[in-house]
């Protein structure tokens, strides 16, 4: 935990954008807006990208909070990316943070789709549009791989058997057996509730 706080401090010092200031809200809006505008895919795609920005680049929030929020966002009804952005915004800067992140998440699709709705045929069958989207998809893939591997590395570094087993089990269940993430999350929550209450797992 201390280590994480230290990392957080380092990152804040490095980029020097303090949460709560006017400049912070502008940077938060801009980066969330652009990520939402350029990311093709649902919650599990956009969240690693936001994590890369908020945690690794700016240090506004830590790994643990991001993972907690992702899990809760997955379990609540509604659009997962929106749920996550609401809670991430609140964690970083209270209600103002929520307003900024929710607006920045929802506006880009609202604008793009409104435009596309009028030019559907032009858009859906245009080779160059397809290639731009394809390129952005590859870019997002690189970030997700990086975020995923980084989190796996940290998980193994803690050298606790049960969390590693949970991750491995969930990975196999969702990849090989196509188990709905909702059920994975539910089962893992119960396992956590019963077996991971020892403070060493916090």
């Amino acid at each position: 935990m201390n280590n994480e706080t230290q990392q957080l401090d380092d990152a804040v010092n490095k980029l020097n954008i303090v949460p709560g200031t006017r400049h912070f809200f502008w940077v938060l809006f801009k980066s969330t807006f652009l990520i939402s505008a350029f990311t093709v895919g649902g919650g599990m795609v956009i969240i690693p990208l936001l994590k890369k920005k908020y945690v690794d680049e700016y240090g506004w929030i830590n790994d643990k909070d991001t993972l907690d929020i992702t899990a809760i966002a997955q379990s609540l009804p509604g659009v997962m990316a929106v749920n996550a952005s609401i809670m991430l915004g609140y964690k970083m800067a209270g209600f103002m943070g929520t307003l900024v992140t929710i607006l920045a998440t929802v506006l880009p699709p609202l604008i793009t789709i409104t435009i596309i709705a009028f030019f559907y045929d032009l858009f859906a069958h245009n080779y160059y549009v397809q290639m731009i989207l394809k390129g952005m998809q590859c870019g997002a893939t690189a970030v997700i791989i990086d975020v995923g591997l980084n989190l796996v590395y940290k998980l193994f570094k803690k050298k606790l058997l049960l969390p590693i087993l949970i991750a491995a089990g969930t990975f196999i269940a969702s990849l090989c057996f196509n188990v709905n993430p909702m059920y994975c999350v539910l089962v893992d929550a119960i396992i956590g509730l019963m077996l991971l209450r020892d403070p060493k797992y916090n």
């Binding site: 990311t39 899990a71 509604g78 609140y90 709705a117 952005m136 995923g148 990849l175």
Partner: protein, 187 residues
Amino acid sequence: MNILLLLYWEFCKIGLFCVGGGYASLPWIQAAVVDNYHWITMTEFIDIFTISQMTPGPIGINAATFVGTKIAGTPGAIVATLGFVTPSLILCLLITYLMKKYGELSAIKGTLNGLRPAVVALICTAGLSFIWLSVWNTESVPTNFADFDIKGIIILLIAMIAVKKKVSVITLLFGSGVAGLVLGLLM
């Protein structure tokens, strides 16, 4: 009833009942706007599904915007999206409040300790299916690994080097889009 109010209310209900991510919201939207109110046809709905998948942004929001536009123009799009996120906003803020109040309980901490590794695994699964999509243009495990997309591999490799060089996420996404266009023109 005013169409905008009705639209808002219908999407509020969808936002409240759809659990489990973007795709899960589509059957709910279909039930309301195609089957119940006949605002749009099934063909249009399939178009919406395709568009929502291939454009940036969460699928659910894309679909709500598209349906709203079809039914009542831009005001419809805004109202449908607002309706969709209203339940999320209330529930998420409520949960945040409860977490603040009860987050220190060992039961809550234990539950979250179980959820964190799960999320790591789910992000890895998403990463893997995105590799299939980028390199082999398929959503599940490729049946023929030799049938890869060379453009996808090139962009993915460059992007991975860029990530290691700590290029900002947004520059990376933008650059990858440009790279896709350039490769599309060249090859």
